[in-house]
Each structure stands twice: as structure tokens, then as C-alpha cells.
């Protein structure tokens, strides 16, 4: 009995739809008890905490290699076993046979880390949105709905459901920005939505192209067969409209690339980001920067490079150059901001650049490994390092950017301005806030001993072998990161005290400290002892490279 309950509780379908159930309960509470705002908040928080427990348990079970749920999908495609991805906690059942889609879920080290990140950040963001007084129930329900989209995407092993959750995560974020956002929210949310829709339209068409050519939407099967130019059953591909195989693959690759590049965002597809992040409510920005950007990078690691190794290899130098541009220009743009939140928003472009640099290194060699070409031990070591670093950087940036947005929001909520020129010398007035801000900024800056350093070091060390010049220039970007972070700290905390704030209560509230504390601890733990998460990621990465 207990075993059955555990199995149900830990199944990935439950994980995905529990937040949805929570959203329904919260909306029901709105109808039944519309005045009880704090009840709605607490119930929503409770649901996200249950999801947190689930995600921690799943991570633990995955790390220990003892997933309690049956690992053999009911009607798995025989060819899926050739896939370099190996999943745990798998489940497969019928969903929409007309288009050849099944409900196929599973996790590996990559998704386990991302699920853990989502599970950690959502309750913290919820805690922050306790400050929202308007339409509380809707706000909380949208958060839970958003969590469902994110979790569903990370567990999906079918292109159809992957796309489904990809799009679903847009809707709640649109409304979160549009209803609870800053002054310019209309413009920002519209731009965000259309940008993302535009990208995903290409993704939709490319998914249809692939499914019509290969005859399946199952991701493990596709990863195993598609790069070898075989269809789901091992036969030849049926090419449409008399196009050559080359053309079909190039078109599909480009569509995938653009869709995920917008989400990461890779320079020059990043222009939606500063607006959306700045206008979103604090909790929205936390999840937007903390998790949603990772969807793009996850798409690269899970789909783009494994499905299109040859195209990715040819394109790898371009990806690396774009990563470098993101790092340098993102840092410069952040440096030029006077709006504190916009500064932090641009820092995401800069930090995600390192993820992209690691991805570029992965792309540069994966095709050679897959086709059995000659690879030196040095290359293998470097690419493992870079890819591991990219995944860890996704996790670390999730923590540090969420922390930064939290702190910026905490200040804005009390001071009602984010203009850096209006602050100054606040450390003497708000010592606790100042300390936390400096700590989180240092994590963002990449101070050794904190999370960001470990992952950025891995990325840079790994990609050096493949793109020495680009990596060298990107490392200059690290310097500029220091410059803009210090600029932010100096403008807020140091210098002569701005007397205007002496009578204001700007100190961080206990609730905000409570929300920030887990992030601070995790950043420190990951910086000092990264090995709590590294083996899980490394296991998946090394298996991908056949090591």
C-alpha cells in the first residue's frame, strides 16, 4: 500500500499535474472564500512545497539510481534503446495517436537537475509574491500553472508534449507580466508573447516536418535514429516535396535553433528579455530568469545537438561567436543601465552566454564522437568539462539570478524606485540587506568559493581547447561582469548616504530573508562542494559521449 502511494506520488505525471491541481484548488478558493487572501496564498505555497519534496525525492532517487517506478515503458519503440540518453522513472501511454504522439515521460541527470531547480525556485517566488494584494488567487494560480508548464517540459520525451508545455509556459507568464507588471507592462508582455510565438512557430513546423519524415515524435527514438538518417523503424526516410535530405535537415535545424535561441536568449535574439524581466513582478522575474531561460538551453542539449549533430558541428563556431557577443555585449549593456532591475536583466544575457559557450563546445565535437571519428583524450576531457559546466551554470545562474531579482524587488517594493542614481550609502541604513546583496552579487560575479565560479571555470576551461580566441575574449567579459556588478553595489550601498532614505524603512523583511536563505545556502554549498550535484550531471554527459 505504502509502496503504491510512493509510486503514485513520485510518478512524473503526478509531478507534472499536481501544480495544475493546486491552481484549480486556489481558483476554487477564490470562488468559495474570496476574502481569505492569505488562505489562497498558503494553499498555493503548500502545493509548491509538495512539488519541492517530490523534486528532491526524485533527484535523490535518481542520484542513487533507485527510481521506484517501473523503468520499462509499456510500448517502447525498440529502436529507442540505441539512444545515448538513458532515462529513469519512464512511463509511456497512449495520448494522441492521430499524429503519432504518446504520453512519454522520463528523467535523466539533465532534467533531474532542472526539475530540482524549478522545485526550489517556485516556492521561494511564491513567498515573494505574498506582497501582491491585487487578485491574489489568480496570481498564485498562474504561478502554479507556470510551474506545471516548466516541469512538463523537463519530463517530456515526446516532441508533441514537449511543444505543448513549451507553449503552455508562455501563457501564465504573459498574464503575470501583463496584469501585475510595471508601468510598461503592456508593451513588454506583448513583445514577450509575440517573440516567443514567432520562435515557436518555426519549432512547430519543424516538429511536423520531422514527424512526417521520420514517422515518430518519440524523442529517444528520434535521437537514436534521426542522425543516422533512418526513420522510426530503421527504414529510409520519406522525404517531402522532392527536397534533398540536406535541405530538410538544414531547415529543421534552423527552425529549432532560432526557437531555442530566442528563449536562452542568444545574442541577437535577446531584445525581449530586458523588457520582460524589468516589467515582470519580482516573483515573475525570479522564475523567468531562474528557470524559463533554461528551457532554451535545455532544448539545445536535449534536442538541437543530439538531433542535428552534423549541422551543429558546422554551426558551432557561429554559436561560439554569438555566445561571446552575448557575454561581452550583455556585460556592456548591463554596465550602461541606470535602472537596477534592467542591469540585472542584462546580466542574464551575459551569464547565459557562458552556457551557450559550453553548448558550442559540445556542438563542435559531438558529431565526430557520434560517427566514430578520431578524438583525442584531450578533446574528450575538454568537451565533458564544458558540457558539465554549461549544465551546472544553468543551475547556478538559476539560483543567483533569482536571488538578484529578489533583492532588487525587495528594494523597489519599499523605495518605489529602481534608479541607481537615487540611492547611495545605504549599507549603513540597511546592513542586513547590504550584506545579502553583496553576497549574491559576488555569486553572480563568479567569486571563487561560490557557485558561479565553479561552473564558469568549467565552461571556460573546457571550451578553451575548441575556441581559444573566443574563450579568451569571453574571459575579458568576466572582467566586465565584475565592473557592472560593482557599479550596482557601489551605487546602492557605498558612497555618501543619500539622506532622503534615512526616514524610510528599506530594510529587508524577514519573509524576504526566508525566501533568500535557501538560495544563499545552495550557492555557498555548490561553490564549496559542487560534488553534491556534479555526479548526476556528469553521469548523463559522459554517457552521451560514450565514455
Amino acid at each position: 500500500m505504502l509502496g503504491e502511494i510512493t509510486k503514485f506520488f513520485l510518478s512524473l505525471s503526478t509531478l507534472t499535474f499536481l501544480p495544475m491541481l493546486g491552481a484549480g484548488v486556489v481558483m476554487l478558493l477564490k470562488i468559495v472564500l474570496p476574502e481569505q487572501k492569505s488562505l489562497g496564498r498558503n494553499v498555493a505555497l503548500l502545493f509548491s512545497l509538495i512539488v519541492l519534496i517530490q523534486s528532491i525525492a526524485l533527484f535523490g532517487y535518481y542520484a542513487a539510481g533507485t527510481c521506484p517506478i517501473g523503468n520499462v515503458p509499456a510500448n517502447a519503440n525498440a529502436n529507442a534503446s540505441a539512444s545515448p540518453f538513458v532515462f529513469a522513472c519512464e512511463h509511456q501511454s497512449e495520448f494522441f495517436p492521430l499524429v503519432g504522439s504518446t504520453w512519454h515521460v522520463g528523467i535523466d541527470g539533465l532534467s533531474a537537475a532542472m526539475i530540482l531547480l524549478t522545485g526550489i525556485l517556485t516556492p521561494l517566488a511564491m513567498l515573494i509574491s505574498y506582497e501582491i494584494e491585487e487578485n491574489v488567487h489568480e496570481h498564485m494560480a498562474l504561478f502554479l500553472f507556470f510551474e506545471m508548464g516548466l516541469l512538463g517540459l523537463f519530463v517530456s520525451l515526446d516532441l508533441f508534449t514537449f511543444f505543448l508545455f513549451w507553449e503552455l509556459s508562455l501563457v501564465p507568464m504573459y498574464f503575470l507580466i501583463n496584469i501585475w507588471g510595471g508601468e510598461n507592462r503592456r508593451y513588454a508582455s506583448f513583445k514577450f508573447f509575440l517573440y516567443a510565438m514567432g520562435g515557436s512557430l518555426g519549432l512547430l513546423l519543424a516538429i511536423q516536418l520531422i514527424s512526417s519524415v521520420a514517422g515518430t515524435m518519440d524523442i529517444p527514438t528520434l535521437v537514436a535514429m534521426w542522425p543516422k538518417n533512418l526513420n522510426a523503424t530503421g527504414g529510409a526516410l520519406t522525404l517531402p516535396f522532392g527536397a534533398s535530405l540536406e535541405t530538410v535537415k538544414n531547415i529543421a535545424f534552423l527552425a529549432f535553433f532560432v526557437a531555442f535561441a530566442i528563449k536562452v536568449p542568444i545574442w541577437p535574439f535577446h531584445t525581449w528579455l530586458p523588457d520582460a524581466h524589468t516589467e515582470a513582478p519580482t516573483a515573475g522575474s525570479m522564475l523567468l530568469a531562474g528557470v524559463m531561460l533554461k528551457l532554451g538551453a535545455y532544448g539545445f542539449l536535449r534536442l538541437v545537438i543530439p538531433l542535428f549533430p552534423a549541422q551543429s558541428q558546422a554551426f558551432a563556431p557561429v554559436i561560439a561567436i554569438l555566445a561571446m557577443a552575448g557575454i561581452i555585449l550583455g556585460a556592456l549593456a548591463a554596465w550602461g543601465q541606470t535602472d537596477f532591475k534592467r542591469l540585472v536583466a542584462y546580466s542574464s544575457v551575459n551569464h547565459m552566454g557562458f552556457v551557450v559557450l559550453g553548448i558550442a563546445a559540445f556542438a563542435a565535437i559531438y558529431n565526430t564522437i557520434l560517427t566514430g571519428g578520431a578524438t583525442s583524450a584531450e578533446q574528450m576531457r575538454s568537451v565533458t568539462l564544458a558540457t558539465n559546466g554549461a549544465v551546472l551554470q544553468m543551475f547556478n545562474h538559476g539560483l543567483s539570478s533569482a536571488g538578484m531579482f529578489l533583492l532588487v524587488g525587495a528594494l523597489y517594493h519599499k523605495a518605489h524606485t529602481r534608479d541607481l542614481t537615487k540611492f547611495g550609502g545605504l549599507w549603513t541604513l540597511i546592513p542586513v540587506y547590504g550584506t545579502l546583496l553583496i553576497f549574491t552579487s559576488m555569486a553572480s560575479l563568479g567569486l571563487p568559493g561560490l557557485g558561479g565560479f565553479v561552473s564558469e571555470f568549467q565552461v571556460v576551461a573546457g571550451s578553451w581547447w575548441f575556441f581559444p580566441t573566443i574563450t579568451a575574449v569571453s574571459m575579458l567579459g568576466l572582467l566586465m561582469t565584475g565592473a557592472y556588478i560593482l557599479k550596482g553595489i557601489r551605487a546602492v550601498l557605498h558612497g555618501p548616504v543619500n539622506e532622503h532614505w534615512r526616514d524610510h524603512h528599506l530594510e529587508i523583511s524577514p519573509r524576504e530573508v526566508l525566501a533568500l536563505a535557501p538560495l544563499v545556502i545552495l550557492i555557498l554549498v555548490t561553490g564549496v562542494w559542487p560534488n553534491w550535484i556534479m555526479p548526476v550531471i556528469n553521469q548523463t554527459v559522459t554517457r552521451l559521449f560514450g565514455l
Binding site: E94, F96, L168, L194, L201, L204, L205, L209
Partner: protein, 567 residues
């Protein structure tokens, strides 16, 4: 039997309303109407569940190989035997969802019309007659009967728009709508008569007595006559080549200009009915008609009536004349593409709230035609799904628009604003319908659009050896059409967001719109029912898609089989 009861209930109820209810008995009129539509809704659900039984689905699937449709709940009573006209009704996998949709839309329509106080009795009576006409078309298995109900539906529609519509435009719009649809159906009728006479001449040919014998044998009816409007006769005639070892059938006979009947008359029938489905360039009546109609009529009109056109074009056009379809659908798909993209752009440009939704129907119905034109099982099933999804969605849209208009007395988008605060329920419903319409994954619009785009992507080249696309250029442009039509989806997202933003977002002007109050319980119930049916399709896509697939399979079989005579 059930479908006959539905038709009888609706017609009897409307007669009772007109004959036995007094002019001032508004509440009685409403009660009778709601009772009648409730009965029909329940029966529609029963019919849907009957078709959904695994046995029926399996029988339909196995029947599909012979290229003949499988009907449940059939009833065949001779009506005018000398002309071969009978009262023949039945339901297959394509029509069962349409029956369900009609049941939901008419029931919700009566709920939404609860507030109509001007000549309630007549309104409800005509509304029920309209519903009867719509049901009649979907269940008719006799082509004469199909035409009968088709015209039958137009007359109450005219009266409903011209009498209860938007004062400024109602007479113009009602007349425009009626003329468009009538002229379209006249072309289709001429085409159908050509088929009837050529089929009669073919089977009664004294030089070939074996033809009639084969017909009677296949139909398992020793008294079948040569001249008949029965669907099964047409079905056999269109598939004569398969039955008689490659002998040309009645529709392969040379017609005007040496082109076979199937190929010459297909566009007249398809486009003639396509007028009612809003096919470009004959879509012009539809936005005017939708806007001028009272709310409940707009719901039926865009929600169900447009599907009549698409359904008839499929049943009479594509299924009976596959040879014509193979030649003409490859260019008709271009019209459908214009529908999708141009319709969306025009909707984006509108200032009138209701016109936005009116043009969005033009855009979405284009996807249905596009799905038909894909000529493969995935695309055509998607078209069937889209018919249901769009029907419920657009009914929901018009219900929302009506609720805002009733309170604001204007539909000018820039002067509206902030209604989300006053009518949160309507705002939520509108946004929900908007997400469906922009094809948001997880909702029914996506469940329908995905197979349509997939089908168009694959194109009709399922079996190149047997498809003789004489007008097709040397390269297959179907994938490009799928890509271009995706543009329409982006524009749809843009106009839906824009309208939702401007009408429901922003500040509410208390001075301009005094006394706005929440919606009534009946309105809420209608909204929940429509939204629920959309969610049902989205959450259990397999239920409706396998049913529609079983109904579309014979059509696709007919399209894929070899044609002996290429005229």
C-alpha cells in the same frame, strides 16, 4: 430513430410556440425552447456515445477499406418513390461530433437569448426551426433531403437577422447573406442534378442491364431504382470503377468540353457549398451576417451554420466526386490559404469588436477547407476536429461579445476598456477562447490545427502512382502552404491579445458606462458548457479524433484509389 426524434421535437416545439403561446407569454416561450433544446442536447450526446462505441468505430474502420461510409441510427422511409427520394437519415463518424456541437450550441444559444424580450415567442420558434434545419443537413443521407434542410435553415436565419439584428445593418446583412448562400447552393444544386440524371441514365441503360443488377446486389436491395437521390447510390456510382473492374462509371462520362462530369462539376458543388463555409472570395457575407445577427444567432451562425457548408462540400463534393477533388483541390487550397492569412490580417484591422470575431471565423474556416484539400487522413481528420473546435470556440467568442455589448452598447474597441474588472467571468472566457483560437497547445485549437498542418505538410502524395494531379506543377507546393498558413496563427495571436487587452484591460470608464453589472447565471452556465466542451477535446483528443478518423477514412480511400478514366 433518435435523429428523427430530434427533428420532430424541434419542429413540434416551434409549432407549439407559434400556435399555442400568446404574444405576451415570454417566460412560457423560453421554457418551451429550453426544454426542447435540452431534449435535443441529451439525444445528441446519446448519439455521440452510440457512435463512440468500440464496435461501431471498429465497424466503420473496417468498412472504410471498401470506400463506403458506415452509419449508425439509420432510418430509411420512401418519400417520393417515383423520383427516388426518401427520408433517409443516419450518423457517421464525421457527423456525430457535429450533432453534438449543434446540440451544445443551440442549448447555449437559448440560454444566451434569455434576455430577449422583443417578440420572444417568434424568436424562439424561428431559432428552433433554424436548429432543425442544421440538424437535418447533418443527418440527411438522401441528397434531396440534404438540400431541403439546407434551404430550410436559411429562411429562419434571414428572419432572425432581419428582425432581431443590429438595427443599422440588419436588413442589408440578412439580404446579403441569403443571396450569397442561395446563389451558391443553386450552383451546387445544378451540379447535384447533373449527377442524379447521369447516374439514372447510367443505371437504366437498357444496353447494360448488368449495371442495375450490380447496383441492387451491392445495395442488397432487389427493388433499388436507377434514378435515386439516395447517398448510397451516389456512393456506388462514384466508385463504379472498383466494383466493375475498371469500367468507367456514370461520373466518368464526358461532359461539357470533353471533361468528365466529376471533374467539370466538382468546383461548382464544392465552391457552391463552400460559400457557406466562408471560402475566399465568397466570404464577404459572413462578417456582415455575424455582426448583424443577435448574439444567439451569431453563435449558431458562425458556430454551426458555417460547418454546414464545409460538411456538404465534403459529403457531396469530395466524397462523391473524388476524381474532381484530386484535380481541383490543389488549387482550391490556395483559396483556403488566402482565407487563413488574409482573414487574420483583416481581423487585426477591425475597430468593431464583433467584426474581429467575424473575420476570425473566416480565417479559421479556411483551415477546415485546407484540411479537406490535404486529401490525406491526418489532414482531413484535423479538419473535422477543427469544425468542432471552431464551432464551440466561436460560439463562446460571440457569447462574450454579446455580453459586453449588452452592457456597453458599443462595440468600438478603442472606446471600450477595463471590462475585465466589471465582467471578470466574461474576460476569462474570452481569453480562454482566444487561446483556443490562436492554437495554444493543450487546448482544442491546437489539437485540430496540428493535424491539419501535418496533413498539408505531407500533402496528397500518399500514393503517387494513383494520384493524377493534372493541374499540379512539377513540384509539390503543399509544404509551403503549411508554412505560409502558419503566418495566420501569429496574426491571430496578435489580434486576440490586442482585443483582449483593449476591451478587458486598462481603466474602466465609470462615467461612460454606468450601471454595468455582472452576467447572469444562465450566461455563466452557457459559457461553462462551451468552455467545457473545448476542454474535453483538448484533454481527450483521442475520443473525437478516432471517431472523425473513422468517418473520414472512406473519403480518403476513395481519393487514393485508382481512377481508370482520365478525362
Amino acid at each position: 430513430m433518435l435523429v428523427t426524434i430530434i427533428l420532430a421535437v424541434l419542429i413540434i416545439a416551434s409549432l407549439v410556440l407559434l400556435l399555442f403561446v400568446n404574444e405576451n407569454q415570454g417566460q412560457e416561450a423560453r421554457s418551451i425552447a429550453i426544454l426542447a433544446t435540452m431534449i435535443t442536447l441529451v439525444l445528441s450526446v446519446v448519439i455521440f456515445l452510440q457512435m463512440n462505441q468500440p464496435g461501431n468505430l471498429a465497424a466503420a474502420q473496417s468498412n472504410a477499406g471498401t470506400g463506403r461510409s458506415y452509419f449508425v441510427d439509420e432510418l430509411n422511409i420512401p418519400w417520393i418513390p417515383s423520383l427516388g427520394i426518401g427520408y433517409h437519415v443516419g450518423v457517421d463518424g464525421v457527423t456525430a461530433p457535429m450533432i453534438l456541437l449543434t446540440g451544445i450550441a443551440t442549448f447555449c444559444g437559448v440560454l444566451i437569448s434569455w434576455r430577449i424580450t422583443d417578440r420572444t415567442r417568434e424568436f424562439m420558434a424561428f431559432f428552433l426551426l433554424l436548429a432543425a434545419g442544421v440538424y437535418g443537413v447533418f443527418v440527411s443521407l438522401d441528397m434531396f433531403l440534404l438540400f431541403f434542410w439546407y434551404e430550410f435553415a436559411i429562411f429562419p436565419m434571414y428572419l432572425l437577422i432581419a428582425t432581431w439584428g443590429w438595427v443599422e445593418r440588419r436588413e442589408y446583412a440578412a439580404m446579403k447573406l441569403t443571396l450569397y448562400i442561395l446563389i451558391g447552393s443553386v450552383f451546387a444544386l445544378v451540379g447535384l442534378l447533373v449527377l442524379y440524371f447521369s447516374m439514372g441514365a447510367f443505371f437504366s441503360d437498357l444496353a447494360h442491364p448488368e449495371r442495375l443488377a450490380t447496383l441492387r446486389q451491392v445495395l442488397n436491395n432487389p427493388t433499388a431504382t436507377a434514378f435515386s437521390f439516395d447517398f448510397s447510390h451516389f456512393e456506388i456510382a462514384s466508385r463504379w470503377a472498383q466494383l466493375a473492374n475498371g469500367q468507367p462509371g456514370p461520373f466518368d462520362v464526358a461532359s461539357i468540353g470533353g471533361v468528365s462530369i466529376a471533374r467539370f462539376w466538382f468546383p461548382f458543388i464544392f465552391i457552391g457549398f463552400g460559400v457557406l463555409a466562408g471560402l475566399f472570395p465568397f466570404h464577404n457575407w459572413s462578417p456582415d451576417g455575424h455582426v448583424a445577427a443577435p448574439t444567439a444567432v451569431s453563435m449558431i451562425h458562425a458556430g454551426v451554420l458555417m460547418k454546414l457548408g464545409a460538411y456538404a462540400a465534403l459529403r457531396v463534393g469530395v466524397q462523391l466526386l473524388p476524381e474532381g477533388a484530386k484535380v481541383h483541390l490543389p488549387w482550391i487550397i490556395l483559396l483556403a490559404l488566402i482565407n487563413v492569412v488574409y482573414g487574420a490580417f483583416i481581423a487585426f484591422r477591425q475597430r468593431d469588436f464583433k467584426y474581429v470575431i467575424g473575420f476570425s471565423s473566416v480565417s479559421h474556416m479556411g483551415l477546415v477547407s485546407m484540411g479537406f484539400a490535404s486529401m490525406n487522413l491526418v489532414g482531413m481528420t484535423g479538419a473535422g476536429l477543427q469544425m468542432f473546435s471552431h464551432g464551440a470556440m466561436t460560439a463562446l467568442f460571440f457569447a462574450c461579445v454579446g455580453m459586453v455589448y449588452d452592457q456597453a452598447h458599443t462595440r468600438d474597441i478603442p472606446s471600450l476598456g477595463g471590462f475585465g474588472k466589471k465582467l471578470p467571468f466574461v474576460a476569462t472566457a474570452f481569453v480562454f477562447a482566444g487561446l483556443v483560437s490562436m492554437g495554444m497547445p493543450g487546448l482544442s485549437g491546437f489539437i485540430a490545427e496540428f493535424p491539419i498542418l501535418s496533413g498539408v505538410f505531407q500533402g496528397p502524395i500518399v500514393n503517387p502512382a494513383t494520384l493524377q494531379l493534372t493541374y499540379t506543377p512539377t513540384f509539390n507546393y503543399y509544404p509551403y502552404i503549411a508554412i505560409l498558413s502558419a503566418l495566420g496563427i501569429i496574426v491571430t495571436a496578435a489580434y486576440v491579445l490586442r482585443v483582449a487587452q483593449q476591451v478587458f484591460g486598462g481603466e474602466f470608464n465609470e462615467a461612460r458606462f454606468p450601471g454595468v453589472k455582472g452576467v447572469t447565471l444562465t450566461d455563466k452556465f452557457a459559457i461553462v458548457l462551451l468552455a467545457g466542451s473545448l476542454l474535453f477535446v483538448a484533454l481527450f483528443p483521442n475520443v473525437m479524433s478516432s471517431m472523425i478518423k473513422s468517418g473520414m477514412a472512406p473519403v480518403v480511400t476513395a481519393l487514393q484509389q485508382n481512377a481508370p478514366v482520365g478525362r
